[in-house]
Symmetry: C2
Subunit: 267 residues, 2 copies
Amino acid sequence: MTAEFELDRDTRVVREGDAFVAEISGGWSIGTAPNGGYLAAILVRAMAEVSPLPDPFSTTVHYVRTATPGPASVTVESIRVGHRHSTFAARLVQGGIEVARAISTFGALDSLEGPTVVPLAAPDLQTPDACVSGRPGPTSVLPIAQRVDMRIPRGEASWTEGAKSGRSELCGWVRFADHRPVDPLALLFFADAFPPPVLNLDEAAASWVPTLELTVHLRRRPSPGWIRGRFRTRALIGGYLDEDGELWDDRGELVAMSRQLARLQRA
Amino acid sequence: MTAEFELDRDTRVVREGDAFVAEISGGWSIGTAPNGGYLAAILVRAMAEVSPLPDPFSTTVHYVRTATPGPASVTVESIRVGHRHSTFAARLVQGGIEVARAISTFGALDSLEGPTVVPLAAPDLQTPDACVSGRPGPTSVLPIAQRVDMRIPRGEASWTEGAKSGRSELCGWVRFADHRPVDPLALLFFADAFPPPVLNLDEAAASWVPTLELTVHLRRRPSPGWIRGRFRTRALIGGYLDEDGELWDDRGELVAMSRQLARLQRA
């Protein structure tokens, strides 16, 4: 029996009657709350069990209650199954209560046919070895930091270095601590794994930045190796913030884009 | 009886048993297809009928089939009704077939309490009177163009002027042709009303750019007057494209942000 990677083990879904059962791990949490990208990966794995097409092109998750480590179930509804695209909804339920709702449209990355033009350039970062190692975070209790190998250039997570930069952007490298290969599921998770760039603002004295809604667009199948992330908050308004993300693979190709709406929350 | 504005008349939903009935107008179409932002407005109006909170903070719609002008029904499901946020799903159905699925989290814009920092500046545009009047588009049949008063600075919609700019961005002004005031529903519609900036690329020889998924974040209640839009496609990959939007009100305040995944389609 081959060893299973941590993300695959902790997002496993098993069909039982009309639903899938899952076990939410405490190993991917920010403080005590399971990370939103991790929960998205569970929801997408359940939808992938039903989808005839392999790749989640666009996934949106609304987080309506804080999930807790322990048993959960996922129910999947087919909205439309088509030749080119198939769309599903999924509910993540704990103790009879819904904690998250997703919609995802699947397609096949390997059969794209149209033109390609990417005006953007990949972020030009110091090598991973020249960066600060470890996932910086708003709290000292970060189980998720044990699961990812994150490298952040000095100055990008300024709130961990004393003086805030006032610039709500953040770039860095990420891969799995257990060397799990990158794939679309990994990108969904990485889209919400970096610390929030809004914490670089003096005005953002939050201890936690819970996500209300996360959308991830999968654009290309990633090549093996490090993933580079670039994240930016363009507007913090009344405590609510957008966070825009780009993920780039080892060849320097854009592989995913994300957008979330989140809220500053004090402890 | 006061006259009803076109958008309000054409997004009206009437409760009948467990569902709402609606009539999809042909007046908001791109070619023969009802515009995605218009359909989003119908879905949000039905959810607003059920929501105790007034404002759709984050709305995602997946368009799974092309809608057609004519009768439709909307069913709304409450996912969670809370004090600060309430989340709903809604299905748009025609002839027993689902054409679009939405999720929306509502809140109250007038009770935001946290800090505000907006590093972005509003687009600096020529005055509306100095711009090209009318909504430019990929086809000559654009019913939607009669419903909006759109003003685009010269060069922004370069494909309508002979030589493509190669720059997948587009800015412009918009308001309703019938002078309907702007409000959150209007912003949902405007987020998908501008022509696609991807058409400024030489490689984008599409006649139609259908939206797979549209997400709109409502950030502030808009002041009366013109809305400025700034739209950008960062990556066209295998015929699929993101489109990022910002909407700014007459005071120069950011009022909404959008992101969509769309696909180039030849006639």
